[in-house]
């Protein structure tokens, strides 16, 4: 029951979509769209709070047990509660000016700043870790340098050959590499999709 039922649901849901695609019947298609696809959308929507609740559980425990840095968890829960209640209770919800004010100046600011720290870290890594230890690493370094110079205004100012070299590397090295990887990933996902559908892969059933 615990394993067979989920495996059966996976197979049936998948087969319905496949059958709908193979036998193009407007009536059946409409049924699938109206019920199965809508069910996927609605069930995903009610499940979306899982991550948030899990976060609150972890941080709630940290506060109740007074673990190190518990006051940070109080702030996290406070930030969550503030936006949650403003978004649910205010007229206009997440489109209201008050919600937007808090959201823009906390979440958006935080997210963009934390990502911008990566600029410093990538610079530091370039200095400390990016070494031409082998032919391959040297090739990576040279290619990165040409692309960095060629993609910005300064490269063209040094020599018009740099943007051309950058385009050549992008078109005849980067693109076929990405293409090869993408083809491999697609083949892998076909196999994974089939394994999921037929219940061979049951990783999601792990407790």
């Amino acid at each position: 029951m615990r394993r067979t039922l989920p495996a059966a649901i996976t197979l049936i849901a998948g087969l319905i979509v496949i059958i709908k695609d193979i036998f193009i019947s407007p009536g059946f298609n409409q049924l699938v769209q109206d019920y199965l696809v809508r069910s996927v959308a609605l069930s995903s929507a009610t499940a979306v709070a899982l991550g948030g609740l899990s976060l609150l559980r972890v941080h709630g425990r940290r506060v109740s047990r007074r673990r190190e840095g518990w006051y940070n968890s109080v702030i996290l829960i406070g930030g969550f509660a503030l936006l949650f209640f403003l978004g649910i209770l205010l007229d206009g919800g997440h489109n209201s000016d008050t919600y937007q004010w808090f959201y823009q100046n906390t979440a958006v600011t935080g997210s963009s700043t934390v990502f911008s720290l990566l600029c410093f870290y990538i610079g530091s890594a370039a200095y400390r870790a990016f070494r031409a230890r082998s032919v391959e690493a040297g090739a990576l370094l040279v290619s990165a340098t040409i692309v960095m110079l060629g993609a910005t205004s300064i490269g063209a100012a040094i020599t018009p050959m740099l943007p051309e070299a950058k385009t050549w590397i992008m078109d005849y090295f980067n693109t076929p590499v990405i293409r090869g990887v993408a083809l491999g990933v697609s083949l892998g996902s076909f196999a994974q999709g089939a394994r999921n559908l037929f219940g061979i892969e049951r990783g999601y059933m792990a407790e």
Partner: protein, 277 residues
């Protein structure tokens, strides 16, 4: 201590200050370097510019705040271009954060063009399950959009612009401003592969290689790769904005990173050769 040892032991905070200065100085003293041309960005610009008036163009904000700097200029250019050309502009988001930016960035441009909500443009809001939305929208766009409501909770059927847009195929192009998945890959798989809807993209530089591959494979009609792509689109549009302004900082920032690469390697090889002796 030999010079190469000292070179290797520079405090990381000094590196950080140099990086910050290299990005900040051009903001106060713009150098005005020319923006490099970009054929893939040009293809995107020309594709949208060539769509006749009355075309339905869906701009989708599949992004998080981390993409603001690179994608806002792209959004500014293309939303403005579409209003100039008389397209019906539709906005939506596959990301919750993007739902916010769609209105924040596009509404002021709509206002500048005296566009009327529901007649010339619509905000279709955010959909939580993108695969379900894209599948259902192939035959019934209204039902797929949160059972027929827009971003603000209004019934889609009340707006005249929605009368002729009832399924995926009714869109003449989908333009995704994206910082990752779901983004152009999902649009290509769900709407291009099955319905033949043309897909375009403006991505962060990190995704440029993936989008270049899609473009070369004929899956994308064009792409704006990061700030450089957006800056080139600004120059094509004839309105230089924040992307063009940022290109000087980009240039100097790159020079500093390359300098770090070179100095780091000089220190490494010098210490290696000293150890060898």
């Amino acid at each position: 201590m030999p010079w190469y040892r000292r070179l290797m032991l520079i405090d990381r905070r000094i590196l950080y200050v140099v990086i910050a200065l290299s990005v900040a100085i051009p903001m106060f003293n713009p150098i005005g370097l020319p923006v490099p041309s970009d054929v893939i960005a040009e293809a995107a610009y020309n594709y949208i510019a060539d769509l006749p008036a009355g075309s339905n163009v869906l701009y989708t904000y599949d992004l998080s705040a981390s993409g603001m700097t690179e994608l806002k200029p792209a959004s500014d250019v293309f939303i403005d271009l579409s209003f100039q050309k008389g397209h019906n502009v539709f906005l939506m988001a596959l990301w919750a954060e993007g739902n916010n930016f769609s209105a924040l960035w596009a509404d002021p441009i709509a206002e500048a063009h005296d566009a009327v909500y529901g007649e010339n443009f619509m905000n279709l809001g955010y959909v939580v399950s993108y695969s379900a939305f894209m599948e259902q929208a192939r035959t019934d766009l209204h039902a797929a959009l949160n059972a027929g409501i827009d971003k603000y909770g209004n019934r889609l059927s009340e707006f005249p612009v929605m009368k002729n847009v009832t399924k995926a195929k009714d869109f003449d192009a989908v333009f995704s401003f994206n910082t990752g998945d779901p983004g152009p890959t999902a649009w290509i798989q769900q709407w291009n592969a099955t319905e033949g809807v043309p897909i375009l993209s403006a991505c962060t530089s990190v995704s440029t290689p993936t989008m270049t591959n899609y473009y070369q494979a004929g899956l994308l009609k064009g792409n704006l790769g990061g700030l450089a792509g957006a800056a080139y689109a600004e120059s094509l549009h004839g309105e230089l904005g924040s992307a063009t302004g940022g290109m000087d900082s980009q240039s100097l920032g790159h020079v500093v990173i390359i300098l770090f690469l070179v100095l780091g390697n000089i220190g490494y090889f010098a210490s290696k050769s000293a150890e060898g002796k």
